[in-house]
């Protein structure tokens, strides 16, 4: 170590990064995660279309407490001028780094922070997303459970602001739009990966008469799907990729147009538009950024009338009914 230490003391000064060099910071692992795969796809497209631009994908793994260190290493490497990422928790971390690396810019999807001149954030209206799966869950429950007690459930890995303020109320609003008598059960797992415990929680909910569950639990959501499969019940999914987990049990999947969004915003940035930084936008169903994936057998297998009612609700939402819009979060 001593020799290396000497080497370090005569290191070169930090170099100035190429303005067209982009890092995609994946706060997790891209492979197997639809949102992060879309993040990479969108950014790649924007870079491919911009002559001279370069792209590097950095995977940071799932431990959120190490993300700051990874971001800092990326910034300190001096290789990048724009860092693109997607995760609600990133703005704070980036804001912490920004003062140390004044030239660096951040574009963060699925996040919200206004007023930092180095950071542009875009938030999906996840209340609408929740509403969409809420309506579907309500319709399916009512269809299957008949006139009994109307209950649906949300199983979360842990509680966090977007969940409490957007997803959960949106989901509940969707249920109540179907029938105001709906009650929402809420369960918490405690982490993002204990699928066996998720299965256990889901199993007992299904056993007590719940027909549809929405898991917001990362990998642990697999446990909910598994429980639905073996009891012939249903799950609805968030953010895409749900149908692949089970062709029957997952009956619906709300989506976000992450690849399009990232493409558009990065394109702007690479074209030299500095005005986006400091801004915090919210995108919604109206612009087609929040939607629903119809392309699955499980969805097509739902009763004709049910699907018609659901399509109607989604169309109305895109037209602003009900209105879930908000500017500040």
């Amino acid at each position: 170590a001593a020799g290396l230490m000497l080497g370090a003391s005569c290191a070169k000064p930090t170099k100035v990064a190429d303005p067209l060099s982009v890092a995609v910071f994946v706060p997790g692992i891209a492979s197997g995660s639809p949102i992060y795969e879309m993040l990479v796809t969108g950014a790649t497209r924007a870079v491919d279309e911009t002559p001279g631009a370069r792209l590097k994908v950095i995977e940071a793994g799932y431990d959120q407490s190490t993300w700051l260190d990874s971001l800092r290493d990326a910034a300190a490497s001096g290789e990048f001028s724009v860092i693109v990422s997607s995760n609600p928790s990133l703005p704070e971390l980036c804001a912490k780094l920004a003062p140390d690396y004044p030239g660096l810019r951040f574009i963060l999807a699925d996040a919200y922070l206004a007023g930092n001149p180095a950071i542009h954030t875009v938030l999906y209206n996840q209340k609408e997303q929740g509403y969409i799966v809420g309506v579907l869950a309500g319709l399916v429950s009512k269809d299957r459970a008949g006139p009994g007690a109307l209950r649906a459930a949300l199983i979360a890995a842990q509680r966090y602001p977007t969940l409490d303020r957007l997803i959960r109320p949106g989901f509940e609003a969707g249920l109540k739009a179907v029938d105001p008598a709906f009650e929402l059960e809420f369960r918490e797992i405690g982490n993002w990966y204990d699928s066996a415990k998720a299965a256990e929680l889901a199993g007992s909910l299904y056993g007590s008469g719940v027909e549809v569950i929405l898991p917001i639990a990362g990998s642990a959501g697999q446990g909910v799907v598994a429980a639905a499969r073996e009891r012939g019940k249903a799950a609805v999914w968030f953010d895409g990729g749900g149908y692949a987990l089970d062709p029957v049990a997952v009956v619906g999947c709300a989506t976000i147009a992450q690849d399009r969004l990232v493409y558009e915003r990065l394109k702007l940035a690479l074209s030299g538009d500095e005005s986006i930084y400091g801004r915090a936008d919210v995108v919604s169903a109206k612009g087609g950024y929040v939607g629903f994936d119809r392309d699955a057998d499980a969805f097509r297998a739902l009763p004709e009338a049910l699907r018609a009612a659901f399509d109607e609700a989604v169309r109305a939402l895109a037209e602003g009914r009900p209105d879930f819009s908000f500017d500040t979060f």
């Binding site: 492979s31 995660s33 799932y62 918490e188 204990d194 998720a198 256990e200 199993g203």
Partner: protein, 282 residues
């Protein structure tokens, strides 16, 4: 009444994957090795079940989980003995290596580093809270219990832990006894991992979720004895299942509920030690 049934079912569901790992941890404890790598070996077991099960079906997958994990555990012990590496550091390395290796292999096998759901690997429920895979896990645990309670393997393992010299006096090799114990604990962790993966029919990164540590704690809470360990496993299963069921009644924070069994257990240990000390009159 139904609450009681669901509590019991939940406890069984929690206990099935925990029991083998705890018994496996006990075996290595017998030979005097603190096995902190249970967590890593459970992951190896779970992944092997999914990976082999995907090609050869759940039964072969279960067997492969046992075999692969046993070989891995024995290998780690062999490394630590032959290279004179500190077993604790080796355990640390295993816990770090297992999830990383699983992820790398998963990428080439399932083309994903995330959840890999495999059709047909979910084991069927035979009772509420009890799957075929759980019964298999209990069977593995029972077989190990029988082996340590009633065969020379148990006595020799304990002798190895108490005094390696006493084994040498019987012309037995301490290293071999230690290796055998690790092999068995690998089998056990394989069963735990397979039962976990079979309960959701998929490989989920990190799916052991601390069960290896709970198993280790159960071994110690049970005074490193067979009966005590089994009782501690049962106690933990009931407490954790109760903490989960409690969410149906009040929306209590899951994490705070999870912490309670540990504090209670610590209190039990201290009070228990105090009473033993009194009895000994010191």
């Amino acid at each position: 009444m139904s609450a009681l049934v669901s509590l019991l079912a939940g406890s069984l569901a929690f206990m099935a994957p925990l029991a083998p790992a705890a018994v496996g941890g006990l075996v290595t404890e017998y030979v005097g090795a603190l096995n902190i790598a249970l967590e890593g070996f459970i992951l190896i077991g779970a992944f092997s079940y999914a990976a082999v099960g995907a090609v050869a079906g759940p039964v072969v997958g279960f067997g492969a989980a046992l075999a692969i994990t046993a070989v891995a555990a024995a290998g780690a012990d062999l490394f630590s003995r032959k290279a004179k590496a500190d077993p604790f550091v080796v355990g640390l390395g295993v816990n770090m290596l297992a999830p990383a290796a699983a992820s790398i292999v998963s990428q080439s096998l399932f083309a994903t580093k995330g959840v890999a759901a495999v059709a047909g690997l979910q084991s069927t429920l035979v009772l509420p809270g009890l799957r075929i895979s759980d019964i298999a896990a209990f069977a593995v645990a029972a077989a190990i219990i029988l082996a340590i309670a009633a065969t020379p393997f148990g006595t020799r393992s304990r002798a190895a832990g108490m005094s390696p010299d006493s084994l040498a006096m019987a012309g037995l090799d301490y290293g071999k006894a230690r290796g055998a114990a690790h092999l068995v604990s690998g089998l056990a962790c394989g069963a735990t991992g397979a039962a976990l993966a079979a309960s959701v029919g998929a490989w989920v990164p990190n799916m052991s979720a601390g069960r290896g540590w709970i198993a280790l704690v159960a071994v110690y809470l049970g005074g490193k004895r067979l009966g005590g360990t089994v009782a501690a496993v049962a106690l933990f299963s009931v407490m954790l299942s109760a903490a989960a069921s409690a969410q149906a009644v009040v929306e209590l924070p899951a994490e705070l509920l999870l912490s309670i069994p540990y504090f209670i257990a610590a209190l039990v240990v201290i009070v228990g030690a105090r009473r033993t000390a009194r009895r000994r009159g010191t």
